[in-house]
């Protein structure tokens, strides 16, 4: 018999003639088996046998369900990665018309909100402040009686929502409201862009939000619009933006990005040319720009003469020249919530012929449909107690408008909040909406692009979508899925050209989206009469500052305020976690004698409103403004008291009974419920001081002056060059060391695989989606504010951010930093117990079970990417343990951990390839960071496969390794950052 050795070991009894040894082995096995059987927990009394195995649920194997992200209104397509019946990770759908495969941090984090145990469970009626849970049917019955009364009496019914871009829900809303004599649907957005549609109403005669095509723009001029981080549809824009700057694809061209802004935004930090613009001057500057463009076109227009008095005149001339040169391929945008300013933006784009090219009005964006002008009318009605029924869905007006909208004065307030919020606190009824991962829904983020949301898990909490609720209250009790299908059958199927509806719907469900031909006609008449030059608004008086409110990338308008991942995500600009703060420019902070962490009271000069926040000194910010993040001070955030370790010197993340940060909106609403920009505020020191929890202390590659060695004042860790220099010489970026490499040892692994990662620093926008993605994929714990303060954050992937340049031309270099999987890993040689070892495929593997926790490896790691479990880190909400990835070990206290290049995904791809009887192909393996990156900056692959994408990238002249001179031979290649600034070009090829 010809048997392999392996078989001999496993099956001794199969050998010819049984030996004594074999007999003993069998006896041993028998005894062990019998003893193990005795260890069982006894009979299971209740079990449902799987008579027929589910096609989807193969225990231990993940499956994917296509859906749409509900993290904001942008409507990115997601694939929910599910294990054993529950979603554990969200990933972008490759090729999705909006997100193109990427996802933002908030989207990545939203899977955790599904497992929020604080969510409402079923309908609830609140009587005299006491909640009473009801069955849905009972709630419907009671409410129907009330509604019938209103129908009969002609009562005033108002429905207040955020943007509803679900077509089926819009139909349900219309149908519901039609049954009343006086009913209206009003919508506003927490992060509003309503000035843009309003401006288009004036200039194009239609209330429309264009779809911005950054990939087509050669010159981008943005005024305060943080389009790479939070503005309207950041994933879509980041993807487009980087495509327009992709040195590998574009080759000869690269878009030039001008950013004029008041605060230091992530987008601004990435701009080629950035300057500080006072918020009160935006109109004047835009008028000046329009004037210059008029001059370029030889036309005389409404802005004539504006350029003479415009601030930044010199820069404007350059911008106008660049724009004019690339007319039809340029884009002017502004973040200002001021329709006069937005009209000027439209005018500039019209002068440049950008409509139809970089601004698409046919496939218009539906991501921000709110019109907050209506809020004033609603508030007037509320103030007079004329509203009989107010239904609030998908919005939290009490928080967003800081109490200026007196919803409690409606005779009956129904909240559809999924979890307790400021509005549901005041409601008479709560009819909670489900999490998007457990419900049916659809969306039309862009006209003609329809996406579907489907349940990925049996509902964890009993909720009902607004569509189903309104249908039920209108007497239509069909299940949600039927309502949705019905709409699609009637409205969308006929447009699809597919014969059979089921085929059409199932295909859409499978893909997550469907793109239908958009037949809309758009008027191309531009109403020039609407345009007029805008003068500067009054600057704040001496001692006062202009208030700038901005959303943070994770928290947005506060809707993610209960998400610990997003709280602990370092802001990509300030690197601060768990807080909002008052950003001041260094000069202003010095002038006001305020230092980092000093708590100030910010008071509005012509109002009683005031909040207290710590100061953060932010480079690159305009001296006349104070910038404060929205989304903080959310009700119930004292739940995070228990986040992180509790020990002798540990301080809680938030004091019991307190909240995280403060609601900055309190400073910026007026009594009519309007949200205001640029209010004038004063700062007064309260005397208190706090230590902000930042993950980075030194913010520059330039060393502290008193320590720097002559000739080495700056560390060249992020290679950077200009586009002109790069074009002239592709090696310009690689001012590498090119050191001769001598090896004392033969190669550690001689196989044909070395896994590597290539990161294009030109593409990376610093958005931090990869950070949250990594956290979700690898079960990285949340450690709380105090531990972050102590520099013990656990993230395996961090984004180093270095500021370059002065206050007026500040630029940030972002560098994602994770385990570099060195071939000569310093960590491997120092571990006394071989707990970190090199794999045959070039990976540096951490063996948690073997680790005794000497931390020697972390000390010797030149990149400081190793993370130690200082404590046990249980979750604040035990239900959120369901979001854990079962493929990745939970690390116990006392062991070291670090990035594994998503080893579990490598193994999965290899197993899949083996199952299919083939080799692993390039692109089979996508680590979580690469998957999530909207910009496509990260590429994983086999460095030893010359055909692989990564091998190609590694050969680029721009490619370099970090700290090459140490000869630790990292497997991560960085591609130098190339910017397209003006100055360098002057010295460059021209």
């Amino acid at each position: 018999m010809d048997q392999s050795t392996e078989d001999e070991v496993l099956l001794p009894f199969e050998r010819e003639g049984s030996s004594r040894r074999g007999f003993l082995q069998l006896v041993g096995f028998g005894i062990a088996g019998a003893s193990l059987a005795g260890c069982s927990r006894g009979p299971t009394r209740r079990a449902i046998p799987a008579l027929e195995a589910s096609r989807e649920f193969v225990p231990g194997r993940p499956y994917w369900i296509a859906s749409s992200c509900g993290g904001c209104e942008a409507g990115c397509g997601v694939l929910a990665r599910c294990r054993d019946g529950r979603p554990i990770k969200l990933e972008g759908i490759p090729g999705h018309p909006v997100s193109a495969g990427g996802l933002c941090p908030a989207g990545q984090g939203s899977v955790l909100s599904l497992y929020d145990s604080k969510r409402f469970d079923g309908a609830r009626r609140i009587v005299d402040g006491r909640g009473q849970d009801l069955r849905w049917s009972a709630a419907d019955e009671e409410l129907t009686v009330i509604l019938d009364g209103l129908r009969a009496s002609g009562g005033r019914v108002r429905l207040l929502t955020s943007t509803v871009n679900s077509p089926s829900t819009r139909v349900a809303i219309d149908r519901f409201l039609e049954s009343f004599q006086d009913a209206r649907h009003l919508s506003y957005d927490g992060l509003s862009a309503s000035a843009i549609p309003s401006a288009h109403e004036l200039t194009h005669g239609e209330r429309v939000l264009p779809r911005y095509r950054f990939e087509r723009a050669k010159t981008i001029v943005a005024f305060d619009a943080d389009f790479l981080a939070t503005w309207i549809s950041p994933v879509e824009f980041a993807a487009g933006y980087t495509r327009g700057r992709d040195l590998d694809v574009q080759g000869e061209t690269m878009s030039r990005h001008y950013q004029l802004e008041a605060r230091t935004s992530l987008t601004g930090c990435r701009a080629d040319v950035r300057t500080r613009l006072a918020p009160w001057e935006t109109g004047a500057v835009l008028s000046g720009l329009c004037d210059l463009l008029e001059q370029c076109g030889g036309a005389r227009g409404p802005c004539r003469g504006a350029a003479e008095h415009a601030p930044h005149a010199e820069l404007l001339v350059t911008i106008a020249a660049d724009l004019w040169e690339t007319r039809g391929e340029s884009l002017v945008i502004a973040g200002a919530q001021d329709s006069e300013v937005q009209v000027l933006v439209n005018y500039a784009n019209e002068l440049l012929g950008n409509y139809g090219a970089t601004l698409d009005l046919v496939h218009a964006s539906q991501q921000r449909l709110g019109d907050e002008r209506e809020l004033a009318e609603l508030q007037a009605e509320l103030a007079d107690e004329q509203v009989d029924l107010l239904i609030v869905a998908g919005a939290n007006p009490v928080y967003d408008l800081a109490g200026a909208l007196t919803v409690e004065r409606a005779k009956l307030l129904v909240s559809c909040a999924a979890a307790p919020d400021e509005t549901s606190e005041l409601a008479d009824w709560v009819l909670p909406e489900p999490h998007f991962l457990e419900s049916w829904n659809d969306a039309e983020p862009l006209r003609g692009t329809f996406s579907l949301t489907q349940p990925t898990v049996p509902a964890l909490r009993s909720g009902r979508t607004l569509r189903a609720t309104l249908a039920a209250l209108g007497g239509d009790s069909r299940p949600d899925r039927e309502l949705l299908r019905d709409h699609w059958r009637r409205e969308l199927h006929p447009r699809s050209g597919v014969e059979d509806f089921d085929t059409f719907f199932d295909r859409a469900l499978d893909d997550g989206f469907v793109v239908l031909d958009e037949q809309r006609r758009v008027s191309d008449h531009f109403v020039r009469e609407a345009v007029h030059a805008v003068a500067s608004a009054p600057a704040p008086v001496t001692g006062a500052l202009s208030l700038v409110l901005y959303p943070k990338i994770g928290m947005l308008d506060g809707r993610h305020g209960h998400n610990p991942w997003l709280h602990e995500l370092p802001d990509p600009v300030s690197k601060i976690t768990w807080d909002n703060y008052a950003c001041l420019s260094p000069l202003t902070a010095e002038r006001l004698e305020l230092e980092e962490g000093a708590v100030v009271e910010i008071a509005v000069t012509d109002d009683a409103a005031a909040i207290s926040l710590p100061v953060h000194v932010q480079r690159g910010q305009h001296d006349g403004v104070v910038a404060v993040a929205l989304g903080y001070g959310r009700l119930g955030t004292d739940r995070f008291t228990d986040v992180g370790p509790q020990w002798l010197e540990g301080r809680p993340t938030v004091e019991a009974g307190s909240v995280i940060g403060a609601n900055a909106r309190l400073l910026a609403v007026d009594s009519a419920g309007r949200r205001l920009d640029g209010r004038h505020v004063t700062l007064a020191r309260t005397g208190a001081s706090v230590e902000l929890a930042a993950t980075q202390d030194h913010h520059s590659l330039v060393l502290p002056e008193h320590l720097a060695i002559e000739g080495h004042e700056r560390r060249d860790l992020v290679h950077t060059t200009s586009f002109a220099a790069w074009k002239a010489d592709p090696h310009a970026a690689a001012h590498g060391h090119d050191l001769p490499v001598t090896d004392l040892w033969s190669d550690d692994h001689s196989g044909d695989t070395t896994w590597g990662l290539a990161i294009d620093l030109s593409k990376c926008t610093g958005c931090s989606a990869c950070v949250v993605s990594c956290q979700a994929e690898n079960n990285v714990p949340v450690v709380g504010r105090d531990e972050v303060r102590r520099h013990r954050e656990m993230s395996w992937l961090r984004i180093d951010r270095y500021f370059e340049g002065g206050e007026d031309d500040l630029r940030a270099l972002h560098q994602p930093m994770m385990c570099q999987q060195c071939d000569h890993a310093p960590c491997e040689s120092v571990c006394p117990v071989l707990a970190t070892v090199h794999s045959a495929e070039g990976l540096n593997q951490q063996v948690y079970n073997r680790c005794v926790g000497t931390r020697y490896c972390a000390n010797t790691c030149p990149y400081k990417v190793r993370r130690f479990n200082w404590f046990e880190y249980p979750r604040e909400d035990a239900l959120q343990n369901h979001a854990l990835n079962p493929d990745v070990t939970i690390r116990s206290r006392g062991v070291m951990e670090k990035c594994s290049f998503c080893l579990q995904r490598i193994q999965e791809a290899k197993a899949e390839a083996r199952r299919e009887g083939r080799d692993v192909r390039d692109g089979d393996i996508t680590p979580a960071c690469q998957q999530s990156c909207p910009a496509g900056a990260i590429v994983f692959g086999n460095l030893r496969d010359p055909e692989s994408r990564i091998a190609q990238l590694a050969k680029r002249p721009r490619a370099y390794s970090m700290l090459e001179e140490l000869n630790v031979q990292p497997s991560v290649r960085y591609l130098a950052h190339v910017h397209n600034g003006r100055k360098e070009e002057d010295h460059g090829a021209h």
């Binding site: 370790p645 020990w647 320590l707 560390r715 020697y856 000390n859 046990e872």
Partner: protein
Amino acid sequence: MHTELQTAHRPPALIGGNKTPTDVTRDVCGPLERRPTRMWWLAFAGALTLLAIGVVSVWYQIATGIGTWGLNRTVGWGFDITNFVFWVGIGHAGTLISAVLLLFRQKWRTSINRSAEAMTIFAVMCAGLFPVIHMGRPWLAFWVFPYPNFRGPLWVNWRSALLWDVFAIGTYFTISLVFWYVGLIPDLATLRDRSRGLRKKITGLLSLGWDGSARTWSRYEMACVLLASLATPLVVSVHSVVSTDFATSVVPGWHTTVLPPYFVIGAVFSGFAMVLMLMLIARKVMNFEDYITTVHITAMCKVIVFTGSIVGLAYATELFTAWYSGSEYEQFAFSNRIRGPMGWAYAVMVLCNVVAPQFLWSRRVRSSLGMVFTITIMVNIGMWFERFVIIAGSLQRDYLPSAWSDYVPTSIEFGALIGGFGLFFTLFLLFCRFLPMISIFEIKTVLSGGHHATEEVEETKERGVA
């Protein structure tokens, strides 16, 4: 109190008070046979309090997590390894005095070698404690030993300097213990002969049937010389190996070849300071002024000023090599060490280790016990800071500025630091109580006061038999 016999034709007497061998035996054994003094009880209570603080701190830390220390993602070692290196260093003087000085026939060592060796053992015990408790999972500390096992089998990493430490410290402790115990045997026999009851039984057992015959003595002395020869290389090797924890790693400020001699000389320096400090206390508390005389103090002062100067040279060399290396990271590490956030610690280190010992060039300072005592304490503080500066100071700012981080120790870490001293002093005080602090038989070989010193030594030996 001191009797410095400085005459033209005779070397200064090592032992004062015109002692006879009988006096020596009585003086050394006496305190062990009486009830402890109030002074001892006070000292012991103090030491136990320190130890208790340490026990509570370490217990809390092991139960809760290393997070109770102020370490972070950038600074992975702080007080823990500083204490470890400090205590290993303290141990060095004992070996040097007993082994190297024995081989060099330095007779003045006889009064202090016993305590110095005891100190070595206790210091190494303290030192050994810290690498164990600094582990994230100290209950698995035995994994650092290469023993046959069923976990794979899993083996240890011979390339890791931490593993070399395990063997260096293990060997050192074993040899020191054996050497110390062997040195105790004749004195244990003396104690046995002077006692009754339980004490006699225990000392009888421990003295291994010592009979004091010429043959025993001959073999005994051979054993001592052999052990001394074995122990001598350890003086150099142990701290050299400890220094490789740093020297073989890639951290700027650690990665330097000067570290092994630098560490060894620093160890001898700090060890001598500690011995001298303890001797100054002991001669007062135990009334050993006649045994530990100005001669001893002066000799040790000279060693301290000598080694202290070499330490100063090492500091200068370190700066020079950093500059000469041309490596921007190396240069920055030292710039940061001196002018960075821990610059004050560097200043303390230079002041205590380089400046303070230089005062010992002056005879006046050397003969002032108060001054000498102050300097020894300063040296001990300075040497602790030296390790702290090297370890935490280098880690806090290495390659990537984004990862720089300060290090602020917690109360629990101070507790562990205090506990180390508590353990050391507790053990030392117990040693003073139960074992002869001064080597009786060796003192008798250097007596100058008695007329027939040599004969009396012989006499004593014979008495040991009886």
